[in-house]
């Protein structure tokens, strides 16, 4: 085939330009370390880069959420530990008041310590996080959820909701617990019912601990009668029980409940067992109630006013025993929240670990898709530069080949 001289030059020029273009692309790949610099370098890969980056961004976000949730929960947990130890002190003081005979000055000193504890507890319940938000206000914006009213009672201004954080797709973890459940709505007695000696009792009867022996029986009679009973003592410790309407309480066979109590014994009916000590006078009563609630501040206030009232040892013991039950309930509420926080922190830690592992996986997937294979790229680079040099040499040789050079 004939070759046209100018086209021959053009062809070898085109070859060199193409080689230069390829060389520049490889050079770019090597210097940026990226195989994909614009989407057209690898369209499907570029789409994958978008979704991988998105997953990595989501993981990073989840990880930072986990960190801040962990901080919040840790703050809450340590605050609750303080609350718990303060309540321990209160409980010890209350037990002192129950056990042994106290002088008036002893009572006063316990009362003043309890009042100190009341203030301490109030301050703890209004603890704020690093951002100045109250820890125990639920999701309310109030800065001091627990406020002391004119009559010394404490009201809760927060709400019952929990703050939540998303730590995974569809996985939310509560990062706060409302103060209402921790400090305010503390069930009376043992959590199911409370038995307390009548205020007008004249005997030495002290109501001790009480327990549920048959929950099914308790619930079924509670549903039928409303759950409020009054135990009335007759002579020699004989007792009968009436419900809120004054009707005799009947057992499952339909017979009225009743019996004789002796010092240190207990009274059982409808699934409840109430331990007592001392001797009731005729006409003394013990009221049994279910579903009552009291806040921890009232508990402390009640103890303080009982200590200050100059009541008899029996009355004081009865009052203090009930309040100790409330403290126990309060501590149990706190410890169940602490357990729950522990569980949540555990979840957070596991998720954090999972995200760290996933991050490694996704990052390596990303560099597989996007990153240049350094070995290939560099060997391509030297191959292409050799090819370009060869073309240039060929051009230089061809240039000198012309018949005109020999026609002298």
């Amino acid at each position: 085939m004939r070759l046209s001289t100018s086209w021959m030059y053009q062809q070898s020029l085109n070859t060199m330009i193409n080689q230069q273009t390829a060389l520049a692309a490889t050079q770019n790949e090597v210097s940026t370390g990226n195989r994909i610099n614009v989407a057209s370098d690898d369209p499907a890969g570029a789409g994958q880069v978008v979704s991988l980056n998105h997953v990595i961004a989501a993981n990073t976000q989840y990880s930072s959420t986990i960190s801040s949730a962990t901080t919040r929960l840790n703050t809450e947990a340590s605050t609750l530990t303080s609350v718990n130890s303060v309540l321990d002190t209160a409980r010890t003081l209350a037990l002192q008041a129950v056990n042994g005979t106290l002088s008036d000055s002893d009572r006063k000193s316990i009362a003043s310590q309890l009042s100190q504890i009341h203030d301490q507890l109030l301050q703890l319940s209004n603890t704020t996080d690093s951002n100045g938000n109250a820890l125990f206000a639920g999701t309310s914006t109030t800065k001091t959820p627990f406020q002391v009213g004119a009559n010394g009672s404490v009201t809760y201004g927060g709400n019952d909701a929990q703050q939540r954080s998303a730590v995974g797709s569809g996985l939310q973890v509560a990062t706060s617990d409302p103060g209402s459940g921790l400090f305010m709505n503390i069930p009376n007695g043992n959590g199911s019912f409370q038995a307390s000696a009548g205020g007008a009792n004249t005997g030495t009867l002290v109501v001790g601990s009480n327990s549920v022996t048959d929950l099914a029986a308790l619930n079924s009679t509670k549903a039928a009668s409303g759950g409020g009973y009054t135990i009335t003592f007759g002579a020699g410790g004989a007792w009968t029980a009436t419900d809120a309407n004054g009707n005799a309480v009947k057992d499952s066979s339909g017979n009225p409940v009743g019996g004789t109590y002796s010092d240190g014994g207990s009274i059982s009916f409808n699934g409840m067992t109430i331990s007592m000590s001392g001797t009731p006078a005729t006409g003394d009563t013990v009221s049994v109630g279910t579903g009552g609630q009291q806040d921890i501040f009232s508990t402390l206030n009640t103890m303080i006013s009982a200590l200050q009232s100059g009541a008899s040892d029996t009355q004081l013991t009865n009052v203090m025993s009930r309040q100790i039950e409330s403290i126990d309930q309060s501590q149990s509420a706190i410890s169940s929240v602490q357990v729950s926080i522990g569980g949540r922190l555990d979840t957070l830690q596991q998720q954090q670990g999972a995200y760290q592992d996933l991050n490694v996986t996704y990052q390596s997937a990303l560099s597989d898709v996007k990153g240049a294979d350094a070995y290939t790229a560099i060997s391509n680079l030297s191959l292409q530069s050799t090819a370009l040099q060869a073309s240039q040499q060929v051009f230089a040789q061809v240039k000198s080949m012309s018949l005109f050079n020999y026609l002298k």
């Binding site: 004939r2 998105h54 930072s64 999701t139 201004g157 909701a161 012309s402 018949l403 005109f404 026609l407």
Partner: protein
């Protein structure tokens, strides 16, 4: 004697012409479109001298150009293909680099959605809200920049269409002028005119796909890919440009009689420009706009389901332009139309044409596919995620073009300036009455219709018996009631609740605005969750997915264009080298020819010198004799 002299002279003359031709070939070695020329020599007619005949020298028959009709036509076709591929590749490369240079939309979207998580992590912290607004505005900027880049390419393409049409018209009229000269030259057409003629067709073929037919008189007729004549004899037929009937910023190509032929043109720069505009750029702009609309709508809707820090129902965070409804400038009626987006997930990437046939309105995509419309009671129509409102009187044949999302990316705006306006809290909460005896509880109140006017006005859900429920408002009006089974949902006033546990007879729950729970972040979490919510294309893609698809689409356009330009260039090179193998000048060949004709010239000169020697020896013989 004079015979020999004549023969020598004819040889001298032939060699001289041949040498001149060689010289011309050599001097035009680098001239584009030059066809190598050769001298055709024949023997002169012999004279009879009785018993024998002797030759009488050489004649120059013609100077021919080396030319192959087939190869030249193939070159024109290849040139159309290569110029077209190059144009597309240039545009696609620009598109790809503007995609990567306009900021990373995925990163911007992720930090925007992540901002909601940060707000949820730090309730009540003003700086988190402020930084969320910051990332929102940054994301809007990325959308706007990308949109503007695409819009800039649109106007660039439109401008290029105009200049290309101008070039076509200039070349066509030049070609007509050459045709005139060729026609005037009659039978003895100069080679340079023919070369010029072919060269003009070659440049025309770069602008637009053409087919050319050579007439017997050497003139050429050129037809565009639409079938329309561009040049015929001494006449050229100019293409025209005009604004699109709907969109004045869009340039359409018209044939010489005024018909729009944009859709029919293929090949060359013009064909590629028009094809790229319709099949790539429009789609990419719409796709990006679709993502902007879906983002804006989903965030605004979720905002409305929450309470902001001021205790108000969340306001819109973004605004996007409503779909553009463009009336045709050919409309005869007085009808006007407008459209609004009702369901962003039903939007598609296409544009639509709404036309009136004299009795009813019809909707079709710009590609011509019919789209069913539902007539609403208020006289509007619903179709493809939009509501179309029409007013005025239309005449048969009136049309409107609807671009649902074309301007959305450029027009996306951050409507919120107050960080407290971020509706992080749930709009409503439920509070159990303290006297409740059952185990029923309501943990969350879901907003189903944020547009309900009574949404926040409060209500009471009560259970007159364990198996019935009733919802009353503050005035005691019963809003809803019915039988209740555990796990059932109860709804009224645009909200719905699903109590858990077993409510006892007489239990009550009050539902009201969550104004004592403004540090609640459940709505912020829902907003953050929009990052992975499938809000586009019938609920199959999230906004980030859509951006991923867009990236792949643009990348594919780019890589196809670049591999196409490689293919077309090598086809062109092949055609060129085939054509050059016939018509191109080879200097070695010319050198050899030059030597050959030089020697022929010298030999002919010797013949003349021999004739002179013979003649002078005769003369001197006579003088001495």
């Amino acid at each position: 004697m004079s015979n020999l002299l004549n023969i020598g002279a004819s040889g001298l003359n032939a060699a001289q012409v041949a040498l001149t031709t060689v010289g011309n070939n050599i001097s035009n070695v680098n001239t584009a479109g030059y066809s190598r020329q050769t001298v055709v020599q024949t023997e002169s007619i012999a004279q009879s001298a009785g018993k024998y005949t002797i030759g009488s020298g050489v004649d120059i028959q013609s100077v021919q150009r080396a030319y192959s009709d087939f190869l030249t036509t193939a070159l024109w076709t290849a040139n159309s293909g290569m110029q077209g591929a190059t144009t597309t590749n240039n545009l696609a490369t620009t598109l790809n680099s503007s995609l990567s240079a306009s900021g990373n939309l995925q990163g911007a979207l992720d930090s925007f959605y992540g901002g909601f998580s940060t707000v949820a992590n730090t309730p009540g912290v003003a700086s988190s809200r402020q930084s969320l607004l910051g990332s929102a505005s940054q994301m809007v900027t990325v959308f706007n920049t990308l949109g503007q880049q695409l819009a800039a390419q649109q106007s660039q393409v439109n401008a290029q269409v105009k200049t290309t049409v101008d070039s076509i018209n200039t070349v066509a009229s030049n070609l007509a002028a050459i045709n005139t000269k060729i026609h005037e030259a009659g039978t003895n057409v100069p080679n340079d005119l023919l070369d010029q003629r072919d060269n003009l067709v070659q440049s025309l073929s770069g602008y637009i796909g053409v087919s050319a037919y050579t007439q017997s008189d050497g003139t050429i007729s050129v037809y565009a890919s639409t079938g329309q004549a561009l040049v015929s004899g001494n006449k050229s037929f100019a293409l025209q440009t005009a604004n699109n009937q709907y969109d004045a910023s869009r340039t359409e190509v018209l044939d010489s009689t005024g018909n729009v032929v944009s859709g029919k043109i293929s090949g060359g720069t013009l064909g590629s420009l028009l094809n790229y505009r319709t099949n790539v750029l429009d789609g990419v702009q719409n796709q990006l706009g679709q993502a902007a609309v879906a983002l804006s709508t989903s965030v605004n809707t979720q905002q409305a389901k929450g309470l902001d820090l001021n205790g108000n129902q969340g306001g819109a965070m973004f605004s996007v332009p409503t779909p553009a409804v463009l009336a045709s400038n050919l409309n005869k009626g007085t009808a006007s139309a407008s459209a609004s987006i009702t369901d962003a997930s039903q939007l598609t990437g296409s544009d639509y044409v709404l036309s009136y046939d004299g009795s009813k309105w019809n909707l079709a995509t710009t590609a011509g596919q019919n789209v069913p419309m539902t007539a609403n009671a208020d006289g509007t129509y619903s179709a493809a995620g939009m509501t179309l409102s029409l007013s005025g009187t239309a005449q048969a044949g009136d049309t409107f073009q609807i671009q649902p999302t074309r301007q959305a990316s450029t027009g996306l705006k951050l409507a919120m300036t107050d960080p407290n306006g971020i509706a992080a809290a749930a709009a409503l909460n439920a509070k159990a009455a303290t006297a409740n005896t059952g185990t029923g509880s309501i943990s969350a109140v879901t907003v189903t219709d944020p547009t309900n006017a009574s949404l926040l006005s409060g209500a009471t859900v009560s259970f007159p018996s364990g198996s019935t429920y009733q919802v009353t408002n503050s005035a005691g009006t019963v809003l809803a009631s019915g039988s209740y089974a555990p796990g059932q949902s109860i709804s009224a006033n645009g909200w719905s609740v699903t109590p858990s546990g077993t409510p006892a007879a007489g239990d009550k729950f009050s539902i009201g605005a969550n104004s004592n729970g403004l540090n609640d972040t459940s709505n912020a979490l829902a907003l953050a969750g929009l990052a992975d919510t499938k809000v586009l294309n019938g609920g199959t893609q999230s906004v980030i997915d859509a951006y991923g698809t867009l990236t792949t689409t643009i990348g594919t356009v780019g890589s196809q264009a670049s591999s196409n330009v490689t293919t077309q260039t090598s086809l062109y090179n092949q055609a060129m080298s085939a054509q050059q193998s016939v018509s191109g000048v080879n200097l070695d060949e010319e050198a050899a020819s030059m030597v050959k004709y030089q020697q022929a010239y010298q030999a002919s000169a010797q013949v003349i010198s021999a004739a002179q020697t013979i003649f002078s020896s005769l003369i001197s013989a006579i003088r001495t004799g």
